[in-house]
Amino acid sequence: MYGISRRGLLQSGVAAGVLAATGLPLKAQTRGGKFTAGLSGANTSDSWDSRTHSDLFMIASCQGAVFDGLTEVAADGSLIGELAESWEASADAKTWIFNLRQGVTFHNGKAFGADDVLESLQMHLGEESKSAAKPIVEAIETMTKVTDHQVQFVLAAGNADFPYLMSDYHIMMYPAGQIEEAIAQGIGTGLYQVTAFDPGVRMTASRVADHYKGDSAGFFDEIEYIAINDNTARMNALMTGQVDAINRIDFKTEALLKANPALRIQEVTGNQHYSMPMLTNVAPYNDVNVRKALKYGINRQEMVDKILLGHGAVGNDTPIGPANQYYNTEMDQLAYDPDKAKFYLQQAGLDSIDIEFSASNAAFEGAVDAGQLFQASAAAGGININVIQEPSDGYWSNVWLNKPFCACYWSGRATEDWMFATAYEAGVPWNDSQWDGDDSARFQELLLLARAELDSDTRRAQYYEMQEILRDEGGVIIPMFANYVQAVNNRIHSPDVVGNLWQMDNARMAERWSVA
């Protein structure tokens, strides 16, 4: 695991290239060579339409190589500008002005400007839009072009994290008026220009000769991403030197992989977490004591050891993980304690309780096993869990949000507010614990306060408190955070600090890595 240094969020930000304030210990990285990666998560239906992206292959290809967004999250978790040179917010964090980088051209030669930003954001709006980034863009009340290289966004409500939201991999910048073409051919402003794209098979790109990121990023002459969804084949490709790096290694073979001197394993703990939401508006989960009993009845360390085989960290029932800025490291860790579980059960006026836990491996790999472990550990606290194995098909529409207690997973979000707004804010559709009653009042209040708060320290205090509330009273058990584990050939150099927001150095290995 890598230690990650963190900067507070500024009211205004600037691009890394200008200030070189990324915090990255820059080694002299040499340009040249070819980088080949075997990546999972590819599909025959893949396209350059960033609104549809959901898995590593296309994110690495699109955000990581060919397209750019307005902002990007650096490997250390800080926010830096990408196509935006700098940004400023009004005091209420409602009005944001982004100064765009000048002299940037798309791969087809078109110059990048404010129109492109506006039109690219428009893509996510409209009744019919199924874009995953729709809620983000919808929060913008008005967008206006101030100059050719300056845009202004007025939000419906203040949001200090707005520049962070702009780093979302769904929100890529397309050339205005040529969006169809850009989606068909992959025309972006990124470091690499597409040379071949075969959906579900491979993507190759070559370094743009004259790029605004200059010599600070994009060290390979050529990159090739090969879609290998099969674990064994991916491993084999790496072992036989057909690819230089792979994502998601098979834990079984880790020991042998480590014995291979030509390879190294990268492992980071990010925000990806496995959760067990309870519907807090349904008995018996409406009783906070029952929830507490369950929280003490689960053996988190055992889960990490057996379900994640040690490749993860215990969770503390908050979705905020090490990749977040305001990750509460001071908070006490919940531990397995059947006596406490029994105690809280008695508080709720019960000697023992029978509950049903719905699980399927669609929720996460090993969810059913996790249920069975939970069953065994909770029994000591007088909680009798009946694990129901649900069909994988239709799990998300029939079980999740419907069954009172089930298994679930979240890949996490880059900011606290984003995560909370997605699944914990009162009234949002994915609030999978339906936690919006009186006992959540303080949490909901803090959520709105923190969102518009531009001062880092105040925000930190607010978010710390929210995490504590979630730990003690929240309706979701989050037993573990899953690591991202990937392997790289020593032929390839990667910086000491590797991004933990996503797999493969936040999917940006094409930008940040180089030939050793």
């Binding site: 075969d198 099969d230 084949a233 994988s392 998300w396 999740w400 994915w430």
Partner: protein, 328 residues
């Protein structure tokens, strides 16, 4: 000749009827795939409203019969429809959307390439070995060949694949284990990359073809006209080539066709192991995400290939049969 034409037309008709019934079976089977596409593609995002929207967009709310005839109409005009996965997000006038035909075509041609390479190795090899085994039957060679082919026929394909990877890619890097071929790849490179899957398939199909060839030839060698040919003082080679082979053609053609059909349709496992971008992989992926048009089209192509190859074999053996070619 008229009778031959009649038989051929009859077979053709029967093949078409079979294909039609198969299309119904496939349609019903595919459409009863659980958890429809809307849910599969939306995953965590599947709320009742969004599911309903997508279902409506895809026409999944229409009755089954209506959908079947729409689909059939499309098939007849070679319009295989639009992949759900593509349809779902194609807001920009279909710019990013690819029709199923466009999606399948390169995959199918890849699979055909693999099948062709395999056939080019396997068919001559199998026929040659089969003839040799028949000629030198019950010798050490025959027994060794028999044992070897039996073993290869008896092993799961993925086992053969891994063994080949072990020996030809891991221990002795002769061929790449990753068969990520793509359009525009130079032929030589494409061939090299396809070599391991082709060899795996060769091992799987050669055994069957060789055994059938051997059996067919042995069967023939016992026939009186072969004895006659020998008693005419002809050389062993001539006896085989001129007298045995023409008559063994029908059974050999049949077994070759059967194995070719297998090569096109049965490669799923091999494609998965070698990450070969063929139609088998496409099929497995599409089943996973319930992309019904693609699954249907793949199934129909598989069935059509099977029927067509069998038909071809049938017709070839009719044509190669002098009794039918030259009626009394």
């Amino acid at each position: 000749m008229r009778s031959i034409l009649k038989i051929v037309l009859q077979r053709l008709g029967l093949g078409l009827v079979t294909l039609f019934v198969v299309s119904i079976v496939i349609f019903v089977a595919v459409n009863s795939l659980p958890g429809d596409f809307a849910e599969a593609i939306l995953g965590q995002g599947a709320t009742p409203e969004s599911v309903a929207t997508i279902r409506r967009d895809l026409g999944l709310d229409q009755p089954l019969v209506v959908r079947y005839f729409d689909w059939l109409k499309g098939m007849l005009t070679f319009d295989l429809g639009t992949s759900f996965a593509q349809l779902n997000f194609a807001n920009f006038g279909g710019a990013g959307s690819v029709t199923v035909a466009e999606q399948i075509a390169p995959r199918l041609s890849n699979t055909m390439f693999l099948a062709t390479v395999t056939a080019c190795i396997a068919v001559p090899l199998a026929v040659f070995l089969g003839i040799l085994a028949a000629l030198y039957r019950n010798t050490a060679f025959d027994k060794a060949a028999n044992m070897f082919t039996l073993s290869s026929i008896s092993s799961p394909e993925f086992f053969m694949a891994y063994v080949l990877i072990l020996f030809l890619a891991v221990l002795n890097p002769v061929f790449p284990s990753l068969s990520n071929i793509f359009e525009g790849m130079p032929f030589g490179e494409r061939l090299e990359k396809s070599m391991l899957p082709a060899l795996t398939l060769t091992l799987v199909v050669t055994a069957h073809m060789m055994r059938m060839t051997r059996a067919a030839i042995i069967n023939l060698l016992a026939s009186p006209y072969i004895e006659m040919a020998r008693l005419k003082g002809l050389s062993p080679m001539r006896v085989i080539v001129k007298h045995a082979l023409p008559n063994a053609l029908a059974p050999i053609i049949n077994v070759v066709a059967l194995n070719l059909a297998y090569l096109i349709t049965g490669v799923v496992v091999v494609e998965v192991v070698f990450v070969y971008p063929g139609i088998g992989q496409l099929f497995v992926d599409s089943v996973k995400i319930r992309d019904i048009p693609v699954v249907q089209a793949c199934c129909l192509i598989f069935a059509a290939a099977y029927i067509l190859l069998n038909l071809t074999a049938d017709i070839l053996s009719i044509v190669s049969n002098p009794r039918l070619r030259h009626p009394k």
